[in-house]
Point group: C2
Chain length 111, copies 2
DNA sequence: GAGGTTGTTCGACGGATGTCGAACATGGGT
DNA sequence: ACCCATGTTCGACATCCGTCGAACAACCTC
């Protein structure tokens, strides 16, 4: 009956970008699957996790999204059973000006 | 006596940058020791391998320089028993405009 | 509430990666 | 010729990383 804090939803770990070493951001981007995800997110707006179909299992997809989130690259909003992911573009651009643009502009060469 | 190709010096493997996937460049930069090396090289000019003193053994240092070279980040000139390394800055800037600048401008946070 | 949807977590496994010391290769000096 | 200086290469080792299926958790709908 009494107010018992929040319902289910454990907080997602989304670090302050200043606490993330550059090498961690670079490492997060240095993977084909994750780079595909970031390219998709760069189109703007939110994307449901399930919409990323890159030939990996959902467990692997979940793993990659976690890596991106914990590297400060993405932010996740929980809504029902779905999670909506978006790029932390402004923050990234402010802290690492030009980085994301340069990576996104790079040729795709993944076939 | 006849001309028998070149003397000792086996060719160093220095790939065409267009053959290197972005993820490989990012991976090469996503390491503290290697990033230190790149920062030093960014000061310009050539640096002898031995001048990199970052608390790792010479075997490890050699390994990191190889990773950077094979990712197309550096170029190496052999002179006697020494090797002189330099950044492939113009090429990198042409193919990935802004990438190197962004990474180098990032806060150092390695203590 | 039973069942379906969406996504995470938990081992497990194989392959890559960072690290080292020791051995090797090469070239310069005396 | 010998030795030393500079680097590379070779196992070896520990750790990390990407991948998966299976189990679990939360939520929505009927």
């Amino acid at each position: 009956m009494s107010n018992m804090g929040y319902p289910g939803h454990m907080e997602l770990h989304e670090p302050d970008l200043r606490d993330v070493p550059v090498t961690a951001v670079l490492a997060a981007l240095a993977d084909d699957v994750r780079l595909q995800i970031v390219r998709t997110l760069a189109e703007g707006g939110e994307h449901a996790c399930g919409t990323f179909e890159f030939g990996v299992s959902k467990a692997t997809r979940s793993h990659h999204l976690k890596v991106l989130r914990e590297a400060g690259v993405t932010r996740t909003r929980i809504a029902g059973t779905s999670r909506y992911v978006r790029l932390r573009r402004e923050e990234l651009d402010r802290l690492y000006p030009g980085l994301l643009d340069a990576v996104l502009a790079a040729p795709d060469r993944v076939a």
